[in-house]
Symmetry: C2
Subunit: 327 residues, 2 copies
C-alpha cells in the first residue's frame, strides 16, 4: 500500500481523502494541518491529524504528500519546503508563476532526492495534457479552452467583498454559440466576452442599495468588466438550497489541418462535466501521487509536471493488464 | 532534424509523409516499398523510393521507421524484423493479438538496443490513452467507446466480396440516443446493436439480384448480423462523387463517482471528428516517431505502447516553453 499524507484539510484535502479511500493500492497515513488538530474530524477512521510543524517526524511513515493548500500564498512556500523530505504532488495553478514555482521545487526535490509533480488537476492538469497531445498531433491549428458551467471561487469571493453583500456564488458559463463554431472547425478570434458569460447569485443585506451592488459587480475590472454579467439577488435560503455545490467543467477543442497543403480538417475535443470540482481535482492529484511514488522508487528526482509523466504510472493496473483491457 | 523512413506507401504512408512534411524538426529520408519503386511517386521531392529488401543499407541514414503496413499479415512480420535494426513505430490494431505482437517486438528491439512503439493511432492510441487517464482518475465508473460516423475499410471490403458487387462503402454510425444517455451519466448495458448502426452504399453489377445482395449483407455474421443495417444501392458516379473520402472519428465517454460513499458524479469525454482517417492516424504515428527517437537517444530500448510515453516526448516544443504556453 502507498502511504499518503494530506497537507491541508479544506475541500480539496477532503477530495483527496475520498480518492485515497477508494484507491485499491493506497492508504491515508496522516493529515497535516495548521489548525488545531483537535478541531479536525476526518471521514477516514483511525488516521492521525498532525500539526503541520511536525510533518518531518513522519518521514518513515509516509510515501508521498498531497499538498492541498492554496496557490496564492500557501503552495509557493510549502511545496518547496516539503519537497526536500517527501515525494509530493500539488495543484499550483497561478499560470504566470508556474516556471518560478517549478524552479524552486526542482532545486529542493533534487537536493532531497525526491520527486515532485506540480500543477496537477484539470486546468492546469488534464486540460493541459490534452492541449499538448492535440498540438503534437495537429501542429497546424488553433485550440480553445472553455470553462463551465461552474462555480468560480475567486469571482464569488470578489463579490463577497462588496459592501452590503452577505454571500454570493458566481458561475462561469461558456457561450454555446462560440463552442459550436469552434467544434464545427471554424477558427474565430474570440474576445473574453465572446467566450464566457458570468452569472451571479447574490444575497444582500436587508436595505442594501441593490443598484449600487449590481453596478459595482458589473464594472469590476479584471473580474467582470470584460464580460456580459447577470446579477440575480436571492435569499440566503435559496442560496443554501440551490447553490452549495461546487460543480465545474469545460472543454478543450482543437481544430487543425493535415495534408501536404494543409487541405484536410479535423477537430479534437476533451470535455469534463464535474459535480464537484474539489473531489475531481482531488482524484487527479491522487492518481499523480501514485506516479510520484513510483518514479521515486525508480530513482528519479526533481520537479515534474503532468507532461513528464508516462500515463501507465497513474494506474494501479499492471502494464500487461492495461495492454489487454484498455489499449 | 529527425530522419524518418516510411515503410509502405498506401493511404497511411501518405498520411505520415504529409505529417513529416509539416513537422518543423523532421525530414523524410526514404520510403520503402514492396512494389516496383519506379512506379511509386512521392509528394515530397528528392526522396528515394527503396525496395523493402534494402532497408538495412539505410541504417546510418535513418533515425526512425514508421511502419505503415496492415495489421492482418504485414505488421506481425515486419515490425519485429525491423525493430532489431531501427527505432520503429507501428499502428498494429488487432486487439486480441497485441500482447503476442508486443512480446515479439520487445525481444527484437531489446536485442538490437532499439525502441519500438506499437499500436499507435487513435484506437488503439489516443482513445486508449483517454481510457487510461479516465480510469486512473475515476476508478469507480464505466466507460464507453463509440466509433463514427466513419468509413470502415474492413466492412467495405466484406461487402465487395459479395457476388454482383462492383464497389461499396460502409459507414459505422454511433446511435445518438445511446451517446446522450452515457453523456448524461447513465451507465446502461448496451449491446452492439444499441451502440452502432451500419450504413452501406453499394454499386451493383447491371442486372444483379439486389434483394440477394442486401440479404447477404444484412445477415453476414460478425460484420452485420448483430447490427441494424441499411443498404443503399447507388451508381458508380455517385460513389465517386460522394464517397471517396475516408472520414472517421468517435468518442470515449466515462462516467464515474467520487466521494467516500461514491455519491458524486462526473463525466469525461474525448471526441474526434476526422476528415481523413489515414492522414490523422499518420499524424499520430509521426508524433510518436519523435518520441521513439528521443527515447532511443536517452538509451532506452524495448517495446512500448502509448501508455509508456511521457507526453512531452511527443512535442517539438521545449519543456520550458510547454510549461509557459500549454500548461
Amino acid at each position: 500500500m502507498i502511504r499518503v499524507g494530506i497537507c491541508g484539510y479544506g475541500n480539496l484535502g477532503k477530495g483527496v481523502e475520498a480518492a485515497v479511500y477508494n484507491a485499491p493500492d493506497m492508504e491515508l497515513a496522516a493529515v497535516f494541518t495548521r489548525r488545531d488538530p483537535s478541531g479536525v474530524r476526518l471521514r477516514t477512521p483511525n488516521v492521525p491529524v498532525v500539526p503541520f510543524s511536525k510533518m518531518d517526524e513522519y518521514r518513515d511513515r509516509i510515501d508521498v504528500i498531497v499538498n492541498c493548500g492554496g496557490s496564492a500564498t500557501d503552495l509557493p512556500e510549502t511545496t518547496p519546503a516539503i519537497a526536500g523530505n517527501f515525494h509530493i504532488v500539488d495543484s499550483f495553478d497561478t499560470h504566470a508563476k508556474i516556471q518560478e514555482h517549478f524552479e524552486k521545487v526542482d532545486a529542493a526535490a533534487k537536493k532531497g532526492g525526491k520527486v515532485a509533480i506540480i500543477s496537477v488537476g484539470w486546468d492546469p492538469g488534464l486540460f493541459s495534457l490534452n492541449r499538448l497531445y492535440m498540438n503534437a498531433v495537429l501542429p497546424n491549428g488553433n485550440d480553445y479552452t472553455f470553462w463551465g458551467r461552474g462555480v468560480s471561487q475567486g469571482h464569488s469571493d470578489a463579490i463577497r467583498r462588496i459592501e452590503g453583500v452577505l454571500d454570493a456564488r458566481q458561475y462561469t458559463v461558456p457561450v454555446e454559440d462560440a463552442m459550436k463554431r469552434v467544434r464545427s472547425g471554424e477558427t474565430p478570434t474570440l474576445s473574453a466576452r465572446q467566450k464566457h458569460t458570468r452569472e451571479c447569485f447574490v444575497v444582500a443585506e436587508e436595505g442594501a442599495d441593490l443598484d449600487r451592488i449590481e453596478r459595482e459587480i458589473k464594472t469590476m475590472p479584471n473580474y467582470f468588466a470584460d464580460y456580459d454579467t447577470t446579477v440575480n439577488f436571492i435569499s440566503m435560503e435559496e442560496l443554501r438550497k440551490n447553490h452549495l455545490g461546487i460543480p465545474h467543467g469545460g472543454c478543450v477543442i482543437r481544430s487543425g489541418k493535415t495534408g501536404v497543403n494543409l487541405e484536410t480538417s479535423h477537430t479534437m475535443e476533451y470535455r469534463l462535466n464535474l459535480e464537484s470540482n474539489p473531489e475531481f481535482t482531488g482524484s487527479v492529484l491522487t492518481a499523480y501521487a501514485r506516479a510520484a511514488y513510483r518514479l521515486g522508487n525508480q530513482g528519479e528526482n526533481g520537479c515534474k509536471t503532468v507532461f513528464d509523466i508516462a500515463p501507465a504510472l497513474l494506474s494501479s493496473v499492471s502494464g500487461e493488464q492495461l495492454r489487454a483491457k484498455i489499449l
